[in-house]
Symmetry: D2
């Protein structure tokens, strides 16, 4: 596989290489996901501050819902990338075991993150 075809932050293709790392990563997609996760970290610290300052609990809960929504958004972006790159590569390989594994992984991931 040439590095030129790899454009996702996961670019895994059924766990190539050492099976725990991506072979190659698109810097832009990675940068965007990192920014969103740093913002989420800040929101979680904001929640701690609200609880520490004994803010009205319905306000804390509304803020917590925003963090949940932001995490769902990151999950959706990661899942779409996984589908477009790793899952696509596995499905196009036409290798039955690889394809079967990716179908099961995708169904599992969808139903875990999407709620």
């Amino acid at each position: 596989m040439s590095t030129e075809t790899i454009t996702s932050p996961c670019a895994c293709g059924a766990r190539p290489g050492d099976g725990t790392h991506a072979v190659e990563v698109d810097p832009e997609a990675k940068h965007a996901i990192m920014s969103r996760l740093r913002r989420i970290e800040g929101q979680v610290r904001g929640l701690q501050k609200m609880v520490d300052e004994e803010r009205y609990c319905a306000d804390v809960l509304m803020q917590l819902s925003s963090v949940q929504e932001a995490l769902r958004g990151v999950g959706r972006a990661l899942l779409e990338n996984h589908l477009r790159h790793c899952a696509t590569e596995a499905i196009r390989s036409a290798d039955p075991a690889k394809t079967e594994a990716i179908y099961e992984e995708l169904m599992e991931l969808m139903y875990k993150n999407a709620r």
Copy 2:
């Protein structure tokens, strides 16, 4: 209201005092919520590390689901406290406006956090 009756981390009772802070807070409940939020902050930093190290994206997504589950748990604890203390106080007040406001707030919070 005497401080002895206040046992929730929100202890709000339809936004008393300045309307943005709780009047009094049970130290133990507050401590438990703070610990969980600090652990979640650590998990979010862990996610950043995984993305930075270009880990396999299905592994990142599984870890992200754990953070979502942990946040739902904090939300559930906050909501139960809100129900047991603030909402209970408002409902027992038998003040129609206060009671109506708390019903609407509870329904909104439930359907935002529970997903």
Copy 3:
């Protein structure tokens, strides 16, 4: 308990009477819920027809999402009624066992239906 105070379709108050039926029911609320459930029954038959006619599966899935949304709506209406009537009655009773039971029931119902 006088019948005049009963205004919900469940009007249960911590399982009075035989413990499985409501004591009294507001005819209007009952009528509205029944209409919605009959419409949902029709939608489920519509789904069967789509599958039987071998319609495009994404169209079947979109229709299925509408049924899920409609059921969540009925659940939300039932839960709000339960909160406004049965739960309110139990909370106002100030009976610790009754109140504790209703808090736990409410939390369970919320997290089951709201997803």
Copy 4:
């Protein structure tokens, strides 16, 4: 496309034929989905009976959650079939427009049904 290769209840492949029907359907998968939908129709009628008999509302809500769970199960089965057959066909076609359309459709369907 020969009819022999079609094995899903949707077998759509980016809306072939008249764009609203599947080209060919696997009888077994269709039969299983139909049975589940008929059982769900019966459960919805059961809900109507419970509301009509003025049963305790928490019991009605628990029953309603079972119907929601059963519908999610049917949605999951339909989505998995869509992924294994229609989506796979579109992804393997390597036609950029077809592939792009199926990625967007899959993401939309996942996040609608999975909750």
